[in-house]
């Protein structure tokens, strides 16, 4: 067992060295996929800066930070349920990553109908996420939360919440548009000639990234 894992390690390191010292291309992936990965790395730094900024805000705020499970609670049929909306939103977004992964699978099998339908399902799930986010924003605004202040505590709460979830929501919205475009192009047979459906995976990379970012936002805004 020990030697086997050593061998895999050696193969892995050897492969890494070979890839990096090769001519023509460093990674055995199409250009678009490489570019998406590099873009996502850059975007990771954008979100990291936002989130680190949020942590600094929260730690240096002079007034107490609002209690997340109170602020983000809904009263449904007389029951006061904390974090219910956000739990549903998170569930939907993570589900959409699942349908996206299935779309990628069918894309590579060149089953264009299933791939497109699953992408459309993903996009609709994304849309419902954005819709619920709009509902959440509306509720908070009605309760008096503003970028410049709120009735629950530190002024930075509203500012940083709207900024970061807004920026993430923008990413989801762009992703939804992207998914719709690619899905329709697939249905119209745009990729039939080349038989090259890697665009599905590239869109998928972006979608999974947006989903992953949400996990961090969820943890840091709602659970902290």
């Amino acid at each position: 067992m020990q030697t086997q894992s050593n061998q895999t390690l050696e193969q892995g390191v050897g492969g890494l060295v070979q890839d990096w010292s090769a001519d023509k291309q460093t990674f055995g992936v199409p250009w678009g996929k490489a570019m998406m990965w590099i873009f996502l790395l850059s975007d990771t730094f954008v979100f990291s800066c936002f989130l680190v900024g949020y942590m600094v805000m929260r730690m240096s705020a002079v007034e107490p930070w609002p209690n997340a499970s109170e602020v983000f609670a809904l009263t449904i049929a007389g029951h006061h349920i904390p974090l219910v909306l956000i739990a549903i939103m998170t569930f939907i977004l993570i589900t959409s990553s699942g349908t996206m992964a299935m779309a990628v699978n069918f894309g590579y099998r060149k089953d264009k109908k299933k791939a497109a339908i699953l992408m459309l399902v993903t996009a609709v799930l994304g849309l419902s996420f954005v819709g619920m986010q709009a509902f959440e924003w509306t509720k908070l605004i009605e309760e008096g939360v503003r970028p410049w202040g709120n009735p629950f505590g530190a002024t930075q709460f509203g500012a940083v919440f709207f900024m970061v979830t807004g920026f993430h929501g923008l990413h989801v919205s762009i992703g939804v548009i992207y998914l719709f475009i690619v899905a329709f192009k697939i249905l119209r047979g745009h990729y039939e000639q080349s038989g090259n459906y890697e665009i599905v995976e590239i869109a998928g990379l972006y979608w999974h990234f947006v989903d992953l970012v949400w996990v961090f936002i969820f943890a840091l805004f709602y659970l902290w």
């Binding site: 490489a34 600094v56 500012a159």
Partner: protein, 573 residues
């Protein structure tokens, strides 16, 4: 995988020169815009020097205008000139040619990049014409003062500045994704990473830094825009302004400084690494010798790039930090001197016993080694907390960063333009004018910045409009300031020689042929000069060797192009 581009020649004037997707045209568009705004920044610095050298003699420069000149000069030079020119200009032109590609991997995105850059420049320059004028917050744009009444341009100027920066970052990202992907994925057969010319390595690493550092600037620009427009309090503590308690409370100005310098320090290397790479190639080519320690040069570029992300707080020693942070950041800062010194030694050792041809590009390259060494040495002073504290915010700092990231990269820019102009136009630039331009600029900039070290040690503070009634500043400092101003205007005028040379040579310059410098790298081996759309004609070149086979024993010519297919010469003895 075959990624052949369709080879349609663009049909009309508009698709060929304006909405072009050819990386060479895009590069020239980038360069022209960058040099244009660069000259605006040069004029601004001349105006600043008029005030500093001859205070009171120029009525139209009031304190507000002075601060606006300082701010716009700094921001334009660092971002809109140097970053855009090295990455958008030289990166675009040289990467595909040097790695043997027909174009960037996504030409359309590349074209968008230059148009977004133009938009950013227009928004930036528009701030000269809005009520209140451009922002005068200093190029670092520190809040809270940047957005408060009392700072020039705090109404419109700062908003346009932040919007322009955000647009620039979008442009730089679109370009940067192209450069990185092209270097990683679109090299020609035989072109391994370790055979790439150092120019490509420098631009490649600088682009990675840009992709990872600009996000911090983007985020801080967005947050400050919200502070200004929505009344949020990200960077704004509880504050009294003009006797009024403002609505802000609880924000952290230091957070902005951290975000800004997390971008700002890598930015220094975004400008420096392409210069390092280009200067290596210039020295090797014009000294007819292989670059000394190629592998070390590559690793030094990579290590400097990595280290540049963990030194940012050395810009904040006087902002108030835990002393242990100062210890950490001083240590990392001084460690950067090691790979940097390796590079300087290797340049000198490349020159050592070389067959040096003192062409104009070589003069600029050697000038760079000199100014960069001086500027780097003062960096060791400022990197130490205890020495930085008294020197910070004096002219010593101005002298340091102008030597190391102002003059040095600009000398490389000039050298590179003289070097690659023949490839871009098919004509040589005029040698005599080039030499006048070099000596005027090189000696002139020394005459400007060397005395500033003395001013700094005297304690003359920077960013002051005037120096009246300070007992500790002797009169001789004022004479020195006048001399510096005269030299600054002299150097500025010298650039007119360069501009004239650029235009004159385009029409009247000597025909250059394909490879006037007898250089090895692939861009000199194209079928046509200037290369046409698609670069290589029918066949993409195959790379057989590294870029530095100069004066190889056993061959008649003293250089072996990278696509030269011959066995390595057998070394006798």
């Amino acid at each position: 995988m075959d990624h052949e581009h369709d080879m349609h020649e663009p049909q009309s004037f508009w698709t060929k020169y304006v909405w072009s997707q050819d990386h060479k045209v895009i590069a020239i568009q980038y360069s022209v815009i960058a040099i244009f705004v660069g000259f605006i920044a040069l004029i601004l610095s001349g105006l600043m020097r008029l005030q500093l050298g001859f205070p009171g003699s120029f009525d139209f420069i009031d304190p507000s205008a002075y601060y606006q000149f300082v701010t716009m000069h700094g921001m334009i030079m660092v971002i809109y000139l140097l970053t855009a020119l090295f990455l958008g200009g030289f990166g675009n032109y040289l990467i595909p040619l040097m790695v043997g590609a027909r174009d960037m991997v996504f030409p359309f995105v590349n074209m968008l990049s230059v148009w977004f850059y133009l938009l950013a420049v227009i928004v930036l320059l528009a701030s000269f014409f809005v009520p209140g004028g451009p922002t005068g917050a200093g190029w670092t744009l520190y809040p809270p003062q940047a957005i408060l009444a009392g700072t020039p341009g705090s109404d419109w100027g700062i908003i346009l500045m932040l919007v322009s920066l955000a647009i620039f970052i979008v442009a730089a990202t679109m370009g940067g994704l192209n450069y990185v992907t092209t270097v990683l994925q679109a090299r020609t057969r035989g072109m391994t990473l370790m055979r790439m010319p150092l120019t490509v390595w420098g631009i490649f690493m600088a682009t990675i830094l840009a992709l990872l550092a600009f996000p911090a600037l983007f985020v801080s620009a967005v947050m400050m825009l919200f502070d200004k427009l929505l009344g949020t309090s990200f960077f704004m503590p509880a504050i009294l302004s003009m006797g009024q308690q403002l609505d802000h409370e609880g924000g952290s100005p230091i957070l902005f400084q951290h975000l800004f310098w997390f971008f700002g320090h890598p930015e220094v290397y975004i400008v420096a690494l392409p210069a390092f790479g280009i200067v290596s190639d210039l020295i090797s080519t014009h000294a007819r010798k292989n670059i000394f320690g190629y592998r070390m040069m590559v690793w030094a570029i990579v290590i400097i790039g990595v280290l540049s992300f963990v030194v940012w707080a050395h810009h904040m020693y006087v902002s108030g930090m835990n002393p242990y942070f100062g210890y950490f950041f001083a240590t990392t800062t001084l460690i950067i001197a090691v790979p940097t010194a390796i590079k300087v030694y290797n340049w000198v050792l490349t020159l050592w016993q070389g067959n040096i041809r003192l062409n104009v590009p070589m003069l600029f390259a050697i000038g760079f080694v000199s100014t960069f060494t001086i500027g780097g040495l003062t960096g060791l002073f400022l990197g130490n907390v205890v020495i930085d504290l008294p020197l910070s915010d004096t002219y010593f700092v101005v002298a340091h960063f102008h030597m190391v990231m102002g003059v040095s990269p600009i000398l490389v820019v000039f050298g590179a333009i003289y070097h690659w102009y023949p490839k871009m136009t098919g004509r040589m630039m005029h040698d005599g004018m080039g030499k006048v331009h070099f000596w005027g600029t090189f000696l002139g900039t020394y005459a400007i910045y060397f005395p500033m070290h003395y001013l700094g040690i005297l304690g003359v503070p920077r960013r002051y409009f005037a120096y009246e009634n300070y007992d500790f500043i002797p009169d001789s400092a004022k004479d020195l300031n006048a001399m510096i101003s005269v030299m600054a205007i002299f150097v500025a005028l010298m650039q007119l020689v360069f501009l004239y040379n650029l235009v004159w040579s385009y029409f009247k310059g000597k025909e250059s042929g394909d490879n006037p410098w007898q250089a090895t790298s692939l861009e000199w081996q194209t079928e046509h000069t200037p290369p046409r759309h698609g670069n290589w004609g029918k066949e993409i070149p195959v790379c057989h060797r590294w870029a530095y086979d100069y004066s190889v024993p056993g061959f008649e010519q003293d250089f072996l192009p990278q696509n030269f297919e011959g066995k390595k010469a057998e070394v006798s003895s």
